[in-house]
């Protein structure tokens, strides 16, 4: 074995060692889990790129996650948590005994009364399971037998930024890794040419000036930065800096990269630093991404009946429908964590109209995604989550009018899950007559996190990373439980 081959081989050994050591020790030496290249020995096909050797802890039900985050907080009263009893309280002040000391945001803390507003939208029983379903989401309603609806979600945060940060990282304050980064770190990628964690964003028509998102929501926090989510952009290069500069075609790029590689190898033989080997490999992966990403984003190859399934906006880049189709394409290419953020759900006023818009954006594409995954045989091992960062108050913000609005409500809200080992056709949790307090089977954000990890074969108690002297976990230090009641 010549000197250089020895070095390449050593790099391989170091890679294995640093995966084993489960710490920051091998930083920069390791081929990188989130965006790793195959290593020089070429035997990587037998294992995922990166990931921890002790994962999964148990048999995984899901291989990947598609998280359809509905940013701004959809109202549970109009969508999921049917409360026919509210009609008799219409316009009445919410009793103090129900509010029971719940803090208010600065937006409604000055209100003298809290008039109860029943949903103006109708519900009907759907599917074999007979779940109550809102008229706002007819397409998804046809699939209720695939869904597990949770009506007893709750969180601690009452404003958007801390609440969405809490959902993404398990902490209200920025600085912790996002759930997708945790999974990229723990499980690595199943695809050599795509990131393990991909983010897609879309703006809603219900409220076009709605709550912002922040790059840190898919950040890696204290995990090494290669685990951060890669946001596919809606305009220009889907991945930043993906395209060659004007005047540089693929042949020229290839020739240039060969030259860089040749020179780097010459340097390696002199310096002996295995980091150079890694860099060579990363340049090769960059080159492959230049074809794999555009191929992924190009939906022209999809048959017409599939495009039709997602509805008319499937051909408009940056729309939720287009992102849903991309999500399926990412899923079938083995991307570990795919997260859509659809904005526009923050309805302090004009809620009925805004909700109509949001549901029109999302209902058909969401249903299409579930069906499409199913017909591709991907639903069984893809965990789908649909939901926002908190709920909305049963009382109106301001007066009860036809265009009423609702303030933020952390104590109870709804979301649904599907696929990935979730028990289909169940409704879990119950709220009181006012849809204000949970009366049965509370599910905290941490419980949802524990459940997601569990479906991917991870025990949330044992999935840690050393930070500031602690074994930091996604679920933090407070207790969290896997919601076994909704598992198949």
């Amino acid at each position: 074995m010549n000197h250089q081959n020895q070095l390449l081989h050593l790099q391989d050994v170091i890679n294995r060692r640093s995966f084993l050591s489960n710490g920051a020790g091998g930083l920069g030496l390791a081929a990188l889990a989130g965006l790793s290249s195959s290593d020089a020995k070429g035997d990587q096909a037998t294992r995922n790129a990166g990931g921890l050797s002790d994962l999964p802890h148990m048999a995984a039900k899901a291989k990947r996650v598609i998280y359809l985050f509905q940013s701004g907080a959809p109202s549970q009263m109009e969508l999921f948590d049917y409360k026919p009893t509210l009609e008799k309280y219409r316009g009445e002040n919410l009793p103090d005994s129900i509010r029971n000391g719940q803090r208010l945001t600065g937006m409604s803390s000055g209100q003298a009364t809290f008039p109860v507003a029943p949903s103006i939208f109708k519900f009907s029983k759907k599917g074999k399971c007979g779940a109550d379903w809102s008229e706002l989401m007819p397409f998804t309603g046809e699939l209720v037998d695939e869904l597990a609806i949770v009506r007893s979600m709750n969180t601690e945060a009452i404003n958007h930024d801390p609440a969405i940060t809490f959902f993404q990282t398990g902490n209200q304050l920025p600085g912790r890794p996002s759930i997708g980064s945790w999974l990229a770190y723990g499980l690595g990628s199943e695809n050599q040419d795509l990131p393990a964690y991909v983010v897609l964003t879309s703006k809603g028509t219900g409220r076009t000036d709605d709550q912002p998102l922040y790059d840190r929501l898919w950040g890696s926090g204290f995990l090494p930065t290669q685990y951060q989510g890669v946001k596919f952009r809606n305009a220009g290069d889907p991945v930043l800096y993906l395209s060659n500069p004007p005047g540089v075609d693929r042949d020229l790029r290839r020739a240039m990269l060969d030259e860089v590689r040749d020179l780097n190898e010459q340097k390696l033989s002199h310096s002996g630093d295995p980091e150079i080997t890694t860099r060579i490999a990363q340049y090769e992966m960059a080159f492959r991404m230049q074809t794999s990403v555009p191929e992924l984003a190009n939906v022209k190859s999809e048959p017409q009946h599939i495009l039709d399934l997602y509805g008319p906006e499937v051909n408009m880049p940056g729309k939720y429908a287009a992102n849903c189709l991309l999500a399926r394409r990412l899923a079938e290419r083995g991307v570990r964590f795919i997260q859509l953020f659809h904005m526009g759900w923050d309805h302090h006023g004009n809620l009925p109209n805004a909700l109509r818009g949001q549901c029109k954006d999302t209902d058909q594409p969401t249903a299409a995604l579930i069906q499409d995954l199913k017909q591709h045989g991907l639903l069984d091992d893809t965990l789908i989550i649909w939901g926002g960062e908190f709920g909305r108050t049963v009382y109106t913000q301001g007066a009860l009018t036809e265009s009423y609005g609702r303030d933020h409500h952390p104590r109870c809200f709804s979301l649904f899950l599907a696929g990935g080992g979730i028990k289909p056709g169940v409704t879990h949790g119950e709220t009181d007559d006012y849809c204000y307090n949970i009366v049965k089977d509370s599910v905290h954000v941490r419980d949802l996190h524990a459940t997601i990890l569990h479906q991917l074969g991870i025990d949330h108690e044992r999935f840690t990373y050393p930070f500031n002297g602690l074994d930091a976990k996604l679920t933090g230090v407070e207790p969290a439980r896997v919601v076994t009641e909704i598992l198949a």
Partner: protein
């Protein structure tokens, strides 16, 4: 090769569990070998947290560990591992319920760890205080190696190498040395001239090298390099960080740091001024600016937030940043409960919190800087302010002068102009009647018919006047006079706000005596005014839309004169005796734009035109009609008072000039940059332990004091922030000096002597060279905290000067170079990757400090996910701002520059003192394709063609040396030359592609050069900028 394989797994154990060197023949050291095991595996249940002391056993205290337990067993029997219950329990099989650590803890002891505990007990189980809490003591320095030693650093490093049977690497070449030192001390590569001068310097390397170091330490680039190192811990950014993420302006503080490093401010002073400069006696402006360190925390302005919640978060952030940067402690961990590992109770955390809790702040961010803040005028600003003050003084004098001539001027006006005005046939009669306000204001008519508004100041208001006719009369139009007054807002027309008014709607209606309950609307056909603000025309006051209205630019002093508006009825109305005419002035368009002084009058003129706007009110008419000599004092006064309001009066003119001067100054003052600073409230805020760390769950009340595990306040230091700052830099403090020198070491070698440079607590990694760490710490204090001298000492060492080339054998022995048998080699930090390319290509603009700049960023980068806040619609600069050092790039926290994040720059959300260092394909894409690097490649190509000689070989050598400081080998040269020739051909065949490539970037290509050749060289330059060696310090 096989050997490596066999050897490796054994070594793994040591690396995996931190950094341990307990070889079979060595004495076990409690701090190095045992504490990490106990801390990680045992203390959660047998440690300091009183809620979790299982079986009454604490393993962090020898008294407890050696005592008879409740079970009458003894956990540790010194010298007798086999009699020690601890050993018995950890040796049990994993499935045994009594096995420690228990299965449910998810912790396991490796056989190597069990062996260490056994040997430690066999050797007597000696406990030691955690090394980092014991003040450093100057170690005795072992005899130096004859051949390899410059200073004591080398002796200490050599001793460790010798114990491991390793030897140091040879000294790096001069090219490598000068590049390494230049990148470390300035963040920029050396110029070709600098490299050549050093290489050709005939003096011994030590002497020539010292000259290089001395030169670099005096460069302004040194201050920039050290400042960018400081900014991560200071969580410096240009935006507030939460939700709308508005811009803030803290570059004044950043420039203070630049200046401090440039002047080599001793680190103790650097500390005291940043933490408590405001509390120093007679604090200077600079010392106050320094305290911006602890105002760099994020702030929230989200609608509906609860202020106190976010104020508390800000204070916690200060505690975390201060304890991490100066002490490498994670005090924030004790926010919700006693610290799990370190001797910091929750109560002590809040006692320390109390020092940072007394800033007069609300918890809600303003757009821009949030109070408390301080203006930071530069010398130019101060001069300009003086000039503006002088202008105001002089204008004030002119007003007084004008007052002196006002009475004769008014009389003259009454004589000359008055009669002309009276020739107008119009007659306005004051309309009197019952006054009302629906907003609760008080309306009162005065002798001259003006109506003064006082009392409550509702945001919106409707005034009404109901006139009852005492004799039959005809009314064709009414007039409104809006009168500015010194008692009104900003000397203007409005009661509140900026002095302006908006009259939304004017309505009229009448009743007759016979049918007092039948209200008949009076239609207004047209309206005129002698002045309307742009887009706020008088016609908007009769358009039926209350949202639009008539406004007067009332905040502009030059426009503050009585204004007239006339409302013409579509048909004349006849008022019989007892009839009522009601006028309503509806001011519901804009909050706080309500009239403060006005007059309503009516006329019976049948021909109403705009000429009617000039006439005078009746009392004044009467006064003017009286011959000057016969006028009463009151009449004279009414003439003077009226004349004063006319824009042509000398007083009005002078007043307008003065107000304009004041406004100029106020505008300028607003433009002077501010910095958010620390201040103390007169009385400290009450401070409580917050139960579970929640703002709304106060527990026990506490007062400011320091954790008991650390030394007390030095003698004479006050018990406030200033005391804390002095305490941190007291030579008896065990942490500060060690933490700093360790971070300098990390900066230079890539890894600290304590690898966990952010954490020196119980869970920290044991130092690779404890004596060296203490030598450096005591040396720093001995040098009077002289940072340049400290860095020079390290850079001069033979340890630093080693070659970084590594053999496979050494790589497998020591992959992370913890033993220092070679020099450092690692990728440049994010900012320097870009700075380096700008410098090599000659694009770099070397301006120090100032407001942030906007280099290239992908289109739409700020707006894709956020339509809030004032940092939107990113447009890159067109000139110098494109080429400044990366530390000056505007940093929007929620959408930070991607080309920095990709290279591991932290998001600046919170204090980070150690970056990750990754190697990813996104980095490759950035260096290959980002406009910054494509343009830099072209600029480098231009340098090659204009400065690099006349042949391809010479030009490639030139560029290669710019990038790496060395000359390429023959083989490297051959590779690059072959590529260049290939591309010369391909671009010659495809001029269109060449043209496209050269069009990248704002800078125009050098038109004197052949575009086809330039394109070919551009790709060669890009190859050179993409080399591993170019982005690596070695």
């Amino acid at each position: 090769m096989l050997q490596h394989f066999q050897f490796f797994p054994i070594l793994c154990l040591y690396w995996a569990s931190g950094f341990q060197f307990a070889f079979a023949d060595e004495k076990i050291d409690f701090n190095r070998d045992v504490r990490p095991i106990l801390s990680d595996k045992c203390l959660t249940c047998h440690g300091a947290d009183p809620k979790h002391v299982e079986a009454g056993l604490r393993l962090d205290l020898s008294e407890s560990a050696f005592a008879k337990l409740e079970s009458s067993k003894q956990a540790i029997v010194p010298n007798h591992p086999d009699d020690s219950e601890l050993i018995r329990r950890i040796r049990l099989p994993a499935n045994d319920e009594l096995r420690m650590p228990p299965v449910r803890s998810h912790k396991n002891l490796s056989s190597a760890e069990i062996e260490i505990l056994e040997r430690w007990i066999a050797q007597g189980a000696e406990y030691k205080k955690h090394w980092a809490f014991v003040p450093p003591v100057r170690p005795s320095v072992p005899p130096a190696s004859q051949q390899w030693s410059v200073n004591d650093i080398d002796a200490l490093v050599f001793a460790k190498l010798k114990s491991q049977s390793l030897s140091p690497s040879p000294e790096a070449t001069r090219e490598t040395l000068i590049r390494r030192a230049s990148l470390d001390l300035t963040g920029l590569p050396p110029s070709v001239v600098e490299v050549e001068a050093f290489v050709k310097d005939s003096r011994p390397t030590s002497i020539a090298y010292e000259k290089v170091i001395d030169r670099l330490l005096t460069s302004p680039r040194y201050a920039e390099r050290m400042t960018m190192w400081w900014l991560d811990g200071a969580r410096y950014a240009d935006s507030n960080g939460f939700q709308s993420d508005d811009q803030r302006f803290m570059h004044g503080w950043r420039d203070w740091v630049l200046n401090a490093f440039d002047k080599n401010m001793p680190f103790d002073q650097f500390t005291v001024e940043q933490l408590a400069g405001d509390l120093l006696p007679e604090a200077t402006l600079e010392q106050k600016i320094a305290t911006g360190f602890n105002r760099n925390n994020r702030q929230n302005s989200e609608g509906g937030l609860i202020a106190e919640e976010w104020r508390i978060e800000g204070v916690i952030d200060r505690v975390e940043a201060t304890s991490a940067v100066w002490m490498a402690l994670t005090m924030g961990c004790a926010r919700c409960h006693d610290h799990k590992y370190d001797p910091i109770s929750q109560k002590e955390m809040y006692q320390f919190f109390s020092y940072f809790n007394n800033v007069p702040e609300s918890g809600v961010a303003s757009a821009g800087n949030t109070a408390p803040l301080i203006q930071t005028p530069g010398p130019m600003d101060v001069a300009k302010l003086k000039e503006l003050d002088a202008a105001i003084t002089s204008a004030q004098q002119s007003v007084q002068d004008a007052e002196g001539v006002l009475i004769p001027a008014a009389a003259e006006w009454a004589t000359n102009i008055g009669p002309k005005l009276l020739q107008s046939t119009n007659r306005w009669r004051v309309l009197d009647g019952e006054l009302a306000s629906n907003g609760g204001s008080k309306l009162k008519m005065q002798a001259d018919g003006t109506i003064q508004v006082s009392g409550k100041t509702p945001a919106l208001d409707v005034y009404s006047l109901s006139h009852k006719a005492t004799q039959p009369k005809k009314v064709t139009a009414i007039q409104l006079e809006a009168i500015p007054h010194a008692s009104l807002a900003a000397n203007g027309f409005g009661r509140k706000g900026n002095g302006n008014i908006v009259l939304g709607e004017v309505e009229a209606e009448m009743t007759t005596a016979s049918a007092p309950d039948t209200v008949v609307p009076v239609k207004i056909a047209k309206a005129f005014a002698d002045y309307s603000q742009a887009n706020w025309n008088i016609s908007a006051s009769i358009d039926g839309n209350p949202a639009t209205g008539w406004a007067l630019d009332g905040l502009d002093p030059s426009k503050q004169v009585t204004r007239h508006a006339v409302f013409v009825f579509s048909e004349p109305i006849a008022l019989d005796t007892g009839s009522r005419l009601t006028i309503r002035l509806k001011q519901e368009s804009l909050s706080n734009h309500n009239l403060g002084l006005f007059r309503l009058s009516a006329t019976d003129e049948s021909e109403i035109s705009e000429a009617i706007l000039s006439p005078l009110p009746e009392p004044l008419v009467a006064a003017i009609l009286v011959p000057a000599e016969n006028r009463s004092e009151e009449q004279k006064k009414s003439i003077v008072d009226y004349y004063r309001t006319l824009s042509e009066s000398p007083v009005a003119r002078a007043t307008a000039t003065r107000e304009a001067a004041k406004k100029t100054k106020a505008d300028f003052e607003r433009s002077i940059p501010t910095v958010m600073v620390m201040q103390e409230t007169p009385q400290p805020r009450d401070c409580f332990v917050l139960v579970r760390g929640q703002y709304d769950k106060p527990g026990e009340k506490v007062t400011a004091s320091l954790p008991s595990a650390l030394p007390p306040l030095p003698n004479g230091a006050p018990n406030n922030r200033l005391g804390v700052a002095k305490w941190l830099v007291d030579p008896s403090h065990p942490l500060t000096a060690r933490v700093q020198v360790n971070r300098y070491w990390e900066l230079l070698f890539g890894t600290g002597i304590v690898k966990s440079s952010e954490n020196f607590g119980m869970q920290s990694q044991f130092p690779s060279h404890p004596e060296l760490l203490d030598w450096l710490a005591t040396e720093y204090i001995r040098l009077g905290w002289d940072t340049k001298a400290m860095l020079k000492t390290i850079l001069m060492s033979a340890t630093y000067r080693q070659s970084s080339n590594v053999t496979p054998e050494l790589m497998s022995r020591d992959p992370e170079n913890r033993l220092l048998a070679r020099g450092p080699r690692f990728r440049l930090q994010a900012e320097l990757v870009r700075d380096n390319a700008l410098a090599i290509s000659g694009l770099l603009v070397e301006k120090v400090g100032g407001p942030p700049v906007r280099p290239y960023q992908p289109e739409g980068i700020w707006d894709e996910i956020n339509v809030y806040g004032n940092l939107r619609n990113y447009k890159h600069d067109k000139d110098a701002g494109l080429y400044r050092r990366s530390m000056y790039t505007i940093w929007k926290r929620t959408s930070a520059p991607p080309n920095m994040l990709i290279f591991d720059m932290p998001g600046r959300e919170m204090c980070v003192v150690r970056r990750s260092r990754t190697n990813t394909p996104l980095q490759a894409l950035s260096l290959l394709n980002e406009v910054t690097y494509v343009e830099a490649s072209r600029a480098l190509a231009e340098r090659m063609l204009t400065e690099g000689g006349s042949t391809g070989q010479e030009r490639i050598r030139f560029a290669f040396q710019l990038a790496t400081a060395r000359k390429p080998t023959e083989r490297e040269l051959h590779t690059l030359l072959a590529g260049l020739e290939r591309r010369n051909k391909s671009f010659a065949a495809d001029p269109e592609s060449a043209k496209k490539l050269l069009s990248v970037g704002e800078k125009k290509p050098n038109g004197d050069l052949d575009p086809l050749e330039l394109a070919a060289y551009t790709i060669t330059a890009s190859v050179i900028l993409n080399l591993d060696e170019t982005v690596t310090k070695e």
